[in-house]
């Protein structure tokens, strides 16, 4: 079955969404489906008809300051995980505008980062929420 991930990257050329594992483990491919973070590698295209999908490209316009926070705190190194994390984090801030550290950690539990050690990511989020 055609995966949403492939359609985004290859047909629509929205390559901000990344593929890490292709099996739901890493979170790199996170997009918003009807406003909720989901893994686009596990979403068959057929389930997307008439449903709203938002990718990291869409968020770049709505929350540009967020991207700066990530750079400022060292929340980005190789960048492979970053789009997925930004999308998940943006959804968290909608659900919980002033998240606690514990909420941030729980929300991001499905987004793996092999570089940063998470500290910069968590700080970026908490600082963005405090603005």
């Amino acid at each position: 079955m055609a995966r949403l991930l492939d359609v985004l990257r290859e047909r629509l050329e929205l390559t901000g969404t990344k593929e890490g594992c292709g099996e739901g483990e890493c979170g790199a491919c996170t997009v918003l489906l009807e406003g909720r973070p989901v893994l686009s590698c596990l979403v068959p295209l057929v389930q997307c008809a008439e449903r709203e999908i938002q990718t990291v490209e869409g968020l770049a316009d709505s929350v540009p300051s967020f991207f700066e926070q990530f750079v400022a705190t060292g929340g980005v190194q190789c960048g492979a995980c970053t789009p997925g994390i930004v999308v998940t984090a943006a959804a968290l801030l909608v659900e919980s505008p002033k998240p606690t550290r514990d909420e941030v950690q729980k929300a991001l539990a499905g987004n793996l980062c092999r570089c940063t050690g998470y500290e910069g990511i968590i700080r970026a989020l908490i600082e963005e929420a405090g603005r």
Binding site: G24, E25, R36, L39, L42, V46, Q47
Partner: protein, 279 residues
């Protein structure tokens, strides 16, 4: 190419499945879409359940709470009714995968996938759940303890869908417990998972129910352990006995996630601790 059918109501879904029982029902796809990336087996035809309204949602009745098959674990984990009546299920829902998985993964998918490690399954076993299956012939109520008949085999017929799960509201004073042992807190398939329900009356366990996952080919309700423990006074001695009986009652295996020895050890410890917490 996979043929995909997208019914918008239950009647249509059931009649499509009745005509072609080879159709593969599809909900959150968090099991279905995880396929070998090299071999990428294509399903011939799927039946999408995510637009079938009747299958989704939580309804509280006088005697039971009903949860529709395509209700997601995010919905279950954030439901005030589930938290109040079935805290063990709420807890399980919140530790299945991570947030993205919980937003898609459904209770019906967890049940039909029938993995011995499925986290909600031991909880349904101790809650005395009834599974309601639906087909063009109507509804069939299956006691959940009779649903898992063998390794990844269930009592569901190919022409049936899981419609909902019915959970009888527990007697006041019942305490529930849930514990999952995995590699880390989130996004880990269980090495051992335990659910328990108990009720203490005058210092004795008037009710005691215990189920476990990842320790046998199916999730199991440990009825013999329950029989030996029910009626005993609560405390360290009973808890230790429950732990060792549970350990003796199962035959776990070695696999990629854990070893038989560790699983048996962890089961004993978890059962002992949870039993102590019933007070």
């Amino acid at each position: 190419m996979t043929r995909a059918l997208t019914p918008s109501n239950l009647r249509e879904a059931l009649s499509l499945l009745g005509e072609d029982p080879g159709l593969v029902p599809m909900a959150g796809c968090t099991d279905l879409m995880v396929t070998d990336p090299v071999e990428r087996v294509e399903l011939p035809a799927v039946l999408d359940l995510t637009r079938v309204r009747e299958l989704r949602g939580i309804r509280r009745g006088k005697e039971a709470l009903e949860i529709g098959a395509t209700t997601t674990f995010s919905e279950i984990g954030s439901s005030a009714d589930v938290e109040e009546l079935f805290p063990a299920l709420a807890r399980a829902a919140r530790v299945i995968g991570g947030w993205q998985i919980q937003n898609r993964a459904t209770l019906g998918g967890n049940i039909a996938n029938a993995s011995p490690a499925g986290d909600s399954l031991p909880v349904l076993l101790v809650l005395d759940a009834t599974l309601v299956a639906a087909s063009t012939n109507g509804e069939r109520r299956i006691p959940y303890t009779e649903f898992h008949v063998g390794y990844r085999r269930t009592a569901l017929e190919p022409s049936e869908l899981i419609d909902r799960v019915s959970l009888p509201i527990p007697v006041p004073g019942s305490v529930q417990a849930f514990r999952k042992v995995g590699t880390r807190e989130a996004q880990a398939i269980s090495k051992v998972v335990v659910a328990m329900l108990g009720r203490v009356e005058e210092g004795k366990l008037a009710d005691y129910r215990l189920a476990a996952g990842s320790v046998a080919p199916t999730p199991v309700r440990l009825a013999e352990v329950e029989d030996s423990i029910r009626g005993r006074s609560v405390g360290e001695e009973t808890a230790s006995l429950a732990g060792s009986l549970a350990r003796a009652a199962v035959k776990p295996i070695d696999d990629v996630r854990s070893t038989a020895t560790y699983r048996a050890f962890a089961l004993e410890r978890v059962v002992r601790r949870l039993t102590l917490q019933l007070i």
